[in-house]
Symmetry: C2
Subunit: 209 residues, 2 copies
DNA sequence: GTCTATATTCCGATAGAC
DNA sequence: GTCTATCGGAATATAGAC
């Protein structure tokens, strides 16, 4: 019996198809909104198979949440923990992060919604072991402040500022569109400009007095 | 038969108790996560009464959503449409808005989640007729830019910046806490400083070159 | 491993007594 | 208006044939 050797682990296996379908449905509709029937349909298989591979809806859900978190955080780490000079690090982070989010609007809302519904469960079971270490970033900011190259800021607030400016406009897109009275096309144009706008706004906000 | 005259409309009536309970449950758990039984329990009445006053779960939900939106938007309008000078308007808006959100964390997430799940329904049925008019704000920004008192910025992006900086840290509180490695107490302290931090950051970001 | 059929639980909604 | 009891459907989960 010949076995495939160099394919990625169980490429189009049933288990993988189920997981992919569950990933899509759960991230779009959340735990309560998702139905097992819909996941089965999307995977092109029968409902009973879901329970054969994953024992329950909850187990399947947990698998998806863990995968989402495990994928989301390392991307942040890579930039945060690098030894790039501060301004370039900020610029790259904004560019990279907005690029990521604009391709995938649903994930951030999914993470935030589910983390708010079960915070304890998250911190105990789902949170990845390898968290980004912000110490390098903190030190860099303090050095730049001490050297007078940027104005005094709390580096923790700076991180919050930057992440807020990157993520929120995509989360609140329909809301912002309503508030500003824009057409979908105008709103899309505006969001396409965010990389540029956020970068210049943050750097301006850091200019020494 | 004497009738009460100067009480606020049906103060502790059954209908009001139902609505209050539904408001709490729906905003915390969303349409799918909320159960009629739980709402009835919280209101201290029977499940059948929910259907007596509001015909269906959907109707009850709609009543809550409309009330939430009707309350949330005018507060924004009041500040946005005022004729205060720009810098003071921004300062007041941040102060007012963060104050509002920090007292009520669940509402923004509720609005954003539900608007993303049923965008069309929102724009057709739920959206308040009286939207905030950002034109005054736009004009003010353009005048300040023309006078060289602030650096050139697209006023629409500026609004998005400010709202993002106000709302997101409270939405993403557990996430930020995890990312920064803070205890709940440290995180609370940090959020208490947001009014101050956001104001100085935004004003610094607007300084002319 | 995959399917059909069925058991079981839960939930929204209604009927009807008071 | 308010309650108890119950219906009917939907959704999760299991049994059992292939």
């Amino acid at each position: 019996m010949d076995k495939k050797e160099n394919t990625t682990p169980d490429q189009d296996s049933t288990e993988q198809k189920i997981f992919d379908a569950a990933h899509e449905i759960f991230t779009q509709k959340g735990m309560d909104g998702a139905k097992m029937q819909e996941i089965a349909d999307k995977a092109g298989i029968n409902k009973a198979l879901l329970h054969y591979y994953y024992r329950s809806k909850e187990k399947l859900y947990e698998a998806v949440v863990k995968a989402v978190m495990a994928k989301a955080l390392p991307t942040v780490r890579q930039v945060i923990e690098s030894e790039l000079p501060l301004e370039e690090k900020i610029t790259r982070f904004i560019d990279f992060y907005i690029g990521l989010i604009s391709k995938n609007t649903v994930i951030p809302l999914f993470i935030i919604s589910e983390i708010n519904k079960h915070p304890d469960h998250f911190f105990e079971n789902v949170m990845p072991k390898q968290l980004p270490q912000p110490e390098i970033f903190f030190r860099q900011v303090q050095e730049e402040v001490a050297a007078g190259r940027i104005r005094p800021v709390d580096p923790r607030h700076l991180i919050i500022h930057i992440i807020s400016l990157c993520i929120f406009p995509f989360l609140g897109k329909p809301l912002m569109r309503m508030l500003l009275g824009l057409s979908p096309e105008e709103m899309k144009k505006l969001l396409d400009q965010r990389k540029q706008e956020v970068t210049s706004f943050v750097l301006a906000g850091l200019k020494p007095l």
